[in-house]
């Protein structure tokens, strides 16, 4: 969706301001949110793209003013409710009022190593890769109202395939509960002027990782 989360190239957000000696978490609840997200992901309650999509659906003023882990928590509440894992009445009460639904598995201390290992997004290829390194491609000018990982600044642009990353679960499908729909994934690099016009810094190149359905031969 064309949301405020898709920030590449926007002006007006100000300077980048690092915080000296920044701690991993700024409040205890932030760590709880991260750990809950990780545990629910391990349990198979939803996929990471469902979590991203739920954040993108936050109203723009909320997205832009909530802190990072607040966004996570709001997205988690939405996914919990939408998937029938708990009711709004239970979240309001702060206690379960009905038994839980069965999930695939549960993250416990015994399997914590496995739970902390990043999952693989490789999937069985359904067809040969359409592109190879060096191929010129044009990204599609698409504006799906649902989750996509093709940023606006790189739509309808001509670039060069640089890396082929294998076949991956396709976020646009996963986020809309249409299964993995495996697609080839490529690093596509663009000249700055193709993205930002004739006044762009000529020493700059920008790449995205693009799924095959985002690309046409150029």
């Amino acid at each position: 969706m064309d949301g405020v989360h898709d920030m590449g190239g926007m002006d007006g957000f100000g300077k980048v301001e690092p915080e000296p000696n920044e701690p991993p978490f700024h409040a205890r609840w932030e760590g709880r949110v991260l750990a809950l997200q990780r545990s629910m992901g391990y349990a198979g309650a939803w996929h990471i793209d469902n979590s991203r999509a739920a954040q993108e659906l936050l109203p723009p003023p909320v997205y832009l003013t909530a802190s990072y882990y607040q966004r996570w928590a709001l997205a988690m509440e939405r996914n919990v409710i939408e998937r029938g894992l708990a009711g709004p009445d239970e979240l309001a009460a702060g206690h379960a009022l009905r038994p839980g639904k069965p999930l695939k598995r549960k993250l416990t201390p015994e399997v914590i190593k496995e739970g902390l290992t990043r999952g693989s997004f490789y999937r069985q290829a359904q067809a040969p890769a359409r592109f190879k390194p060096g191929d010129r491609v044009r990204t599609r000018n698409i504006h799906p109202p649902t989750h996509t990982r093709l940023p606006r600044y790189a739509r309808g642009r001509v670039g060069t395939v640089e890396l082929v990353h294998g076949c991956h679960a396709f976020p646009d499908a996963v986020a809309t509960d249409r299964g993995d729909d495996p697609q080839w994934l490529y690093t596509v690099v663009f000249e700055s002027r193709e993205l930002w016009g004739p006044d762009a810094d000529p020493t700059l190149k920008v790449s995205i990782d693009a799924f095959e359905p985002y690309l046409d031969p150029a």
Binding site: E17, P18, L107, S207
Partner: protein, 213 residues
């Protein structure tokens, strides 16, 4: 969880404990419900938090970089397949399948961003800092990286080529910075002290030899 409830990204919990914010209460309710439903185990939550507070962080990536600086065969393996190369080092948070290392040279400076959310190589750098997840960085890194670098006090030669990697899929990138001059004969442990988090994101440079003991 109204946004105004939270000061901003730099909110600190000072542990006074007397007044719980709406956010704290909502997160507590969520955890209680998910626990009572049998979906999550609070003991596992504790271990996850402990891991990211004490075990997984930029020191993991610094070891990778120092090894690449010291061992040409490892460097080749890292640039060929970073997941496989890092997996041989036995990190606490074990690396997934999709890590790519990109090398800085005198002609080329690499920078990593995620314009769409906050994708970051957790396995080797730990959790991303607030600025990396913030609108100023996400918006400008792909259009004005020299301006971003100026914000953090880095000035590159105007001839240096800049490459920005937008992490739009599950591939994760780590920058292999250039080894500082004057470090000939240093051990991997000593070299690792030069490797800053930001030098592996591309928004910083390694420390100079005289900056470490």
């Amino acid at each position: 969880m109204a946004p105004h409830d939270h000061d901003h990204d730099h909110h600190h919990d000072h542990g006074h404990g007397s007044e719980l914010s709406e956010t704290q209460l909502r997160v507590r309710a969520l955890e209680t419900v998910l626990t009572e439903k049998g979906y999550v185990d609070p003991a596992a939550l504790d271990l996850i938090i402990e891991t990211y507070e004490t075990k997984v962080g930029p020191h993991n990536g610094a070891r990778v970089v120092a090894k690449a600086w010291s061992d040409p065969a490892f460097k080749r393996a890292l640039l060929e397949d970073a997941s496989a190369a890092v997996r041989t080092m036995g990190h606490e948070s074990r690396v997934g399948d999709h890590l790519v290392a990109v090398e800085n040279t005198p002609q080329l400076h690499n920078m990593i961003v995620c314009t769409l959310c906050s994708c970051y190589p957790w396995e080797v750098l730990g959790l991303p800092p607030v600025w990396y997840k913030s609108a100023p960085y996400r918006s400008r890194a792909v259009k004005d990286p020299r301006g971003v670098l100026a914000d953090v006090g880095i000035k590159l030669s105007k001839d240096t080529q800049i490459r920005v990697w937008d992490s739009t899929a599950e591939t994760r990138f780590i920058v292999l910075p250039m080894r500082p001059a004057g470090t000939e004969g240093w051990s991997e442990e000593r070299l690792a002290q030069l490797v800053t988090r930001d030098s592996m994101i591309g928004t910083g440079l390694p420390k100079k030899p005289e900056e470490v003991a």
